[in-house]
């Protein structure tokens, strides 16, 4: 019975405190959540941590779910916001601890280099500005532009524009590589 219930009903039940509904939602969506976390961060360890953050916070967040959007859209929005918050906090942290920050920046640079060597994807994603990257992360998750717009809180047109911008970036990158 529970298995055939749609996400939205489950979401509403979970918002009302139904633990079983919450559990089956998690079970259903965990992998996609993690996948998106990876697409947003590009590093598995980061994605694991981000997913953990989200799992820890989800129980109180879900109480605000009103069924106004499809559950997956709502959940994706939570993931995108969590990724933003995480980035923001890390930026503040880097600013606050200078010595550590420099070291961290160097370390990240070294990591990036290693990854570059084996992974064109990494370079491509890293070369994009943050907003474009996030948009692309969602588009590559097989969502249409309207859905992506709903998740990001922007219009469908903006999504399309961003995607074409991202494509321009990628084309330029390819040209640079081949020359």
């Amino acid at each position: 019975m529970r298995m055939t219930t749609d996400d939205r009903s489950l979401g509403l039940a979970a918002a009302g405190g139904d633990a079983a509904a919450f559990a089956s939602l998690l079970e259903r969506h965990y992998d996609r959540m993690f996948g998106l976390a990876f697409r947003l961060t590009g590093i598995q360890a980061e994605a694991e941590d981000l997913t953990q953050d989200i799992c820890a916070a989800l129980p109180s967040k879900i109480r605000a779910y009103r069924g106004e959007a499809a559950f997956s859209t709502w959940l994706y929005r939570v993931v995108v916001n969590a990724a933003h918050d995480r980035r923001r906090r890390q930026a503040t942290h880097r600013k606050a601890a200078q010595g550590w920050g420099d070291w961290e920046v160097n370390r990240v640079a070294a990591n990036a280099e290693a990854a570059d060597a084996q992974d064109w994807l990494q370079t491509a994603m890293a070369s994009l500005p943050e907003t474009l990257r996030d948009t692309l992360a969602l588009v590559l998750d097989d969502m249409n532009h309207a859905e992506v717009g709903a998740v990001m809180g922007i219009s469908e047109g903006t999504v399309s524009w961003r995607v074409s911008e991202a494509k321009k970036h990628l084309r330029a990158l390819k040209e640079k590589e081949t020359t």
Binding site: R8, A19, F34, R39, K61, L121
Partner: protein, 641 residues
Amino acid sequence: MTDDLDDLRKAMKAATPAPDASAKANNIALAQKNFADLQGSGAVARPKSNRIWTGVKAMFSTMTTRGGLVASTALIAIGFVALNPQLLEFGAQPEAVTLPASVDPEPLEMAAEDRFTGAVVLEEAAPAGTLAAPQATSKRLQRTAESYDWPETRIYPQPAPRPSIVLPDADALTPGPVIEGDTEAFPEAAATPLKITAEEPVSTFSIDVDTTSYAVVRNSLMNGQLPPREAVRVEEMVNYFPYAYPAPVGDAPFQPTVTAAETPWNPGTQLVHIGLQGAEVTERPPLNLVFLIDTSGSMQAANKLPLLKQSFRLMLSQLRPEDEVSIVTYAGSAGQVLEPTPAGERSVILAALDRLEAGGGTAGQAGLQQAYDVAKGMSAEGEVSRVILATDGDFNVGLSDPDALKDFIADKRDSGTYLSVLGFGRGNLDDATMQALAQNGNGQAAYIDTLSEAQKVLVDQLTGALFPIVDDVKVQVEFNPARIAEYRLIGYETRALRREDFNNDRVDAGEIGAGHTVTAIYEVTPVGSDAVLSDPLRYGDAVAGDPEAEIGFLKLRYKAPGEDESALIETVLPEVSELGSEAQFAVAIAGFAQLLRDESAVLDWDYADAIALANGAKGDDPFGYRAEAVSLMRLAQSLSE
């Protein structure tokens, strides 16, 4: 869509890893636990008015600084208004949920809702942005890895961060409850696994006199949080306490005492308790101390540089006129701020201490080099030289090349200069680096969170901390497989040695200071006991060993300070008897530490048992350390419920 995106999509599909199965299980469990906690015990929604007040109460109890209290009062005022609408919505919600009929996409108005009510309230209530408290249900969330919804919590997860409370630093000189974000790094070590005697009859380790772990655990508990598991090192908890083991007689530098007894937490096993008591020194050689002080910007907090100054002031009174003190600081650049000065000239030293100010980045390696150079210049025949590094862990030395740093320290160790590491403050305490430094530099790591801890480390136990009486103490126990089926060394995970290292005098190990005690405990399972966990092999040979012989044999190696060759002490492990009250207290602490680590070995035991055992063995306790331990156990008991 066009080709270039399809390429990317394919690459992305290929690159996206499957979620880690165990992380997934943990995360789902975490989410469900948080969910359940949020709902109260039942799975069905019900009015939650109580919860809000419990939460506020819990918040109060975790805040003790004046600033914290002022801020939390403001929180209640605003928090109540902000939480109330939620109350109305959720409290009044019927248990049967009405479902909307259709599944049409609607425009989203998520932005505002998407923040936690609690977090928004906090941001408004504390505009300074320094106060971030857990949301109303904080108490139950404390063991979780929750960290997402607290603004200004700095996250740099090494181990999974546990929640932290950030209080303003403004309330100077209350070095208690300031915990910052999570750049803390603890060495990762799983509990030493159970060994099967027939397969591995010999166990070898180096002694450890660090006490960091106990102080870190205390700091966490005092702030109303269970400590991170990896911060709990059983041997450091046990060795934090002085024990009155039988003293050595004659010229012996230390005296081992071995007892075996029933295990309090498992009726089927026994404990082998090994206590080493170092000799007291009456005549001590002159001492050359180089304080290497981290004055980087992060040391500004009240529980760091100011506490450090107070601590060193306390320590100065313990020094003798013939001792010499020098101060080297490291921040943006390293520099000597006090030439070697006889300890008798207190005012000169105190003035130099007072001039220290925090600011700038951290150039640890240069500082360390200079400190060792100064120490070398000060040392003379028959004197003891020691570098005392005081840092909050923003010690970025050799991060470009950690091995070079270890080699550097190990090299200086051979020159006869000792190194002690004192950790201050929480938040970016790099426990792992501190451990590595102290272990490689013939030294001791301690964590100082309060002035009374400074009193313990730098005044009460100063002689032991600064005057090693034996170096490189290694312990090796061989169990008789005909008597003991399985054994387990409790703690000492980061101190394990290879069997062949025992006789290799070039392999470094821990020191015993004057009057120090060191304790190690094995849990052993006799052959034939119900508690034997492993089945006998079907095709293996019959177990060798003599069932008539003793249960095992203990060997100790140590070097006199400055010597290259080790001496050997050997003794037979005794048969089961009763633990003395000193050993019993050590066992209570070992059990407590294992409870904090959630270890399966103590599943049938709980904090109440540990408290009862410790209470029965408090002994003289002239400094009140043991009484404090019992109150920490009680705190942990409440927090874990």
